[in-house]
């Protein structure tokens, strides 16, 4: 898992991951890129991350992938990420395509629901929590 301040250098990251696994005999490599869209007059999105819980969440997915003979990778931005740049990339390597296609779907969806990352719109230099696009994590409401 890789965390960066500001937008991701997607080509460097994907190229490096590809090089790292060049001799691993994986038949499928499926990358996913999340790009900030220009909408609602935002200048950027901005992110807070709670790394200790994110690392445990990611470790759990690495174990699930390993059980399928696959590898999951991810990188995410911290702080401001301007429109038309990337805040999130992930990828799956697996011996055959079907495992990788299913795993990237499940991994990215669970990432959206349970990775401890908070998103803010940046408008006129002000950070506004994206409450209406955010999802309560599994187990929410315990203390209510």
């Amino acid at each position: 898992m890789e965390l960066y301040n500001g937008p991701l250098d997607t080509k460097e990251i994907f190229g490096r991951w590809l090089d790292e696994q060049a001799k691993s005999n994986y038949g499928a490599y499926i990358p996913f890129v999340g790009t900030i869209r220009a909408e609602d007059d935002i200048e950027a999105l901005s992110f807070d991350i709670y790394e200790p819980v994110l690392q445990k969440w990611f470790d759990g997915w690495q174990e699930k992938a390993r059980a399928l003979g696959a590898v999951v990778k991810m990188a995410h931005a911290i702080g401001d990420v301007p429109v038309h740049t990337s805040s999130y990339v992930s990828a799956v390597f697996s011996p055959k395509r079907r495992v990788a296609l299913e795993l990237i779907d499940a991994f990215v969806e669970d990432f959206k629901a349970n990775a401890p990352i908070w998103k803010y719109d940046v408008k006129n230099g002000e950070r506004i929590y994206a409450a209406d696009r955010s999802t309560p994590m599994n187990g929410s409401g315990l203390l209510a």
Binding site: Y50, V53, K119, P136, S140
Partner: protein
């Protein structure tokens, strides 16, 4: 004493309190009106491991994290 920290957009300073279980933490946090809008949609971690049982016992020095709704990517 245990410590309660509020992550992401909650924007509240950490609190220290006496609590034997997460139920005690719940009772104390419910007294704080600034948290009313948050508690029903927040998840909880104890020493960086997600928990979902109010009877979870706490010991001196434990750290409870309150995690509001997320949106990565």
């Amino acid at each position: 004493m245990i410590k309660v920290e509020f992550l992401g957009p909650i924007g509240k300073a950490p609190m220290e309190m006496e609590a034997k279980t997460l139920a005690d933490v719940s009772a104390k946090l419910k007294e704080d009106k600034t948290l009313t809008e948050w508690l029903d949609k927040c998840a909880v971690a104890l020493n960086d491991t997600m928990v979902n049982d109010l009877t979870t016992a706490l010991k001196d020095g434990d750290r409870v994290s309150i995690l509001p709704p997320v949106c990565g990517g």
